[in-house]
């Protein structure tokens, strides 16, 4: 009903259009931050698992607390970066052409939360796999080919790179 009233108002009097955007329209989008975030989550999870048999000490608690903090921070970055590309860059024609985008994005959100809440290597690896797929689709939409290469330092996993 409110919408009908507003549509009527719009017919009677001109309504100013305001352009919505995440930022000043810069056009800069890149899933690279999200990929690095995934690698960090995996690395922090591995480091925490390395401590599972270590005798508890203040030093150990300090180290693990720092790993947790970084894992939290990077899981938030992954979710934020993917949401921005999904919400601001992709448009309806792309959702029609790539129908998996909505489900893929939602899966990334769920896995991001899981990897954040738990010390779960499987969830972290699946998160990277989904973000890699997301990056592949993103660059395909941009008309840029991609390659999969192993990152040159731990956790040394394969990630998607654009061939620029």
């Amino acid at each position: 009903m409110l919408s009908n009233i507003l549509n009527l108002v719009k017919k009677i009097t001109p309504v100013q259009e305001v352009h919505a955007h995440c930022d000043i329209p810069c056009g800069i989008y890149d899933p690279g931050h999200a990929i690095i975030g995934c690698l960090t989550i995996i690395r922090m999870t591995d480091l925490m698992n390395d401590h599972s048999t270590v005798k508890h000490s203040v030093d150990c608690q300090n180290e693990v607390s720092r790993y947790i903090a970084e894992k939290e921070r990077h899981a938030a970055i992954v979710k934020h970066e993917i949401r921005i590309i999904w919400g601001d860059f992709f448009k309806p024609p792309q959702f029609e052409k790539y129908p998996e985008l909505h489900d893929l994005t939602h899966r990334i959100m769920l896995l991001g939360s899981k990897a954040r809440q738990e010390v779960n290597t499987d969830a972290a690896l699946e998160l990277l796999e989904k973000v890699n797929r997301f990056a592949e689709l993103f660059w395909e939409i941009k008309g840029i080919t991609t390659k999969k290469s192993v990152y040159p330092y731990p956790p040394a996993l394969a990630v998607i790179y654009p061939e620029l």
Partner: protein, 52 residues
């Protein structure tokens, strides 16, 4: 002063869809703060809506 505007485009933060209506108020005695949402005219891009 109250002003009715309509959203063009998409935004995640603040979250708007194309066609959403917003009512904005021109604050004369209220100071703007971080996290407030404002509409303003940009020299090149026209009217924009942004979170401070």
């Amino acid at each position: 002063m109250l002003k009715l505007s309509i959203i063009k485009g998409y935004s995640m933060s603040p979250s708007y869809l194309e066609g959403d209506y917003i009512v904005s108020i021109t604050p004369r005695l209220i100071h703007l703060r971080i996290e407030d949402v404002i509409t303003f005219q940009h020299a090149s891009y026209g009217y924009l809506i942004k979170k401070i």
